[in-house]
């Protein structure tokens, strides 16, 4: 009777840990797929300005406001990358960890820290470059309580990108009107 329970727990833990992850392969990861292009839609907004540099400056300020440190930038190419370290403790994972440790005697170290990265690009678009397209990509790397890297995943939730662009619009509006 005890065995099925064990298997159930193990399967549940494995499921929780493995959802939505895949490893990078040479065959797949240098090919454009429709999913990648769909991501581009979610991660891009156009702004009515010809001033690409101003947008980039505002992005830098916005990232700083949200606790990011700027890692790399090249104004001439419209690039900005930033990162921050944050806590990654997940109550559900701790529950699984405790269950696994008590019933199976298998400690699966839960997540502790994460490094969140942002990669912003800007480019002039539209007729005579009257608009600037801004694209931002977020991803995170998670480390467990032993300091081991446990996962690297893209952050794909559309809400995150919506919030970023709402904040960016607001910041651009505020700047333009010099409050």
């Amino acid at each position: 009777m005890r065995l099925p329970l064990r298997f159930g727990c193990a399967a549940l833990a494995a499921l929780l840990l493995m959802t939505g992850c895949y490893a990078v392969t040479l065959d797949r990861d240098l090919n454009l797929t429709p999913e990648m292009l769909a991501q581009r839609q979610v991660q891009t907004r156009r702004f009515d300005t010809a001033d690409e540099q101003r947008i980039l400056k505002t992005c830098a300020a916005l990232l700083q406001d949200t606790g990011f440190n700027i890692d790399e930038s090249e104004t001439r190419l419209g690039i900005l990358t930033a990162s921050k370290e944050r806590d990654a403790t997940d109550p559900v994972q701790w529950a699984v960890f405790l269950t696994a440790a008590i019933f199976l005697g298998v400690p699966i170290p839960p997540d502790k820290d994460q490094v969140m990265k942002a990669f912003v690009t800007t480019r002039p678009v539209g007729a005579e470059g009257r608009q600037v397209a801004v694209r931002v990509v977020f991803e995170r790397a998670v480390y467990d309580t032993d300091g081991r890297l446990t996962k690297i995943e893209p952050l794909t939730e559309p809400r995150m990108y919506q919030t970023f662009f709402e904040k960016l619009s607001k910041a651009l509006f505020l700047e333009a009107h010099d409050f």
Binding site: M18, A23, E139
Partner: protein, 151 residues
Amino acid sequence: MTSDRLKQTLPLVFSLLFLVASCATTHDRLLDMETSQVQLRSIQSRAFDTTDKEKTMRAIIATLQDLGFMLDRADYTLGVVTASKARGDSYQMQAPAALRITVTVRPRGEKQLLVRASAEYLRSPVTEAKPYQNFFNSLEKAMFLEAHQVD
């Protein structure tokens, strides 16, 4: 007596030395010389009919972003872009940056730019043609230009 022992151990010492010598040394790895340089350069390079370096570099960066890479470095003056991509969980995680690529842009004659990409996958150089072919196919779409094979 001693010379007998020497005779016995000598082959062993030599075979050990041979084994050590046949291993890749730091020198070999630093200046990787596994494939023919000329052949590799041709696999990794394409020429585009444009002289617009900025536009080309922007297209490279946009392509890498489309492919899910995170940018590590970019320098307009040097014409260099480095980006990496890693995905996975603890069961698959072999190296923090699973796929890393450096792309350089430089003039080729009066009317062309030469784009060269070199990739590293799980701590080894990528020497097969297919991954580069895939990358340049993706780049062509962002450039709206045909990538020409060079010798």
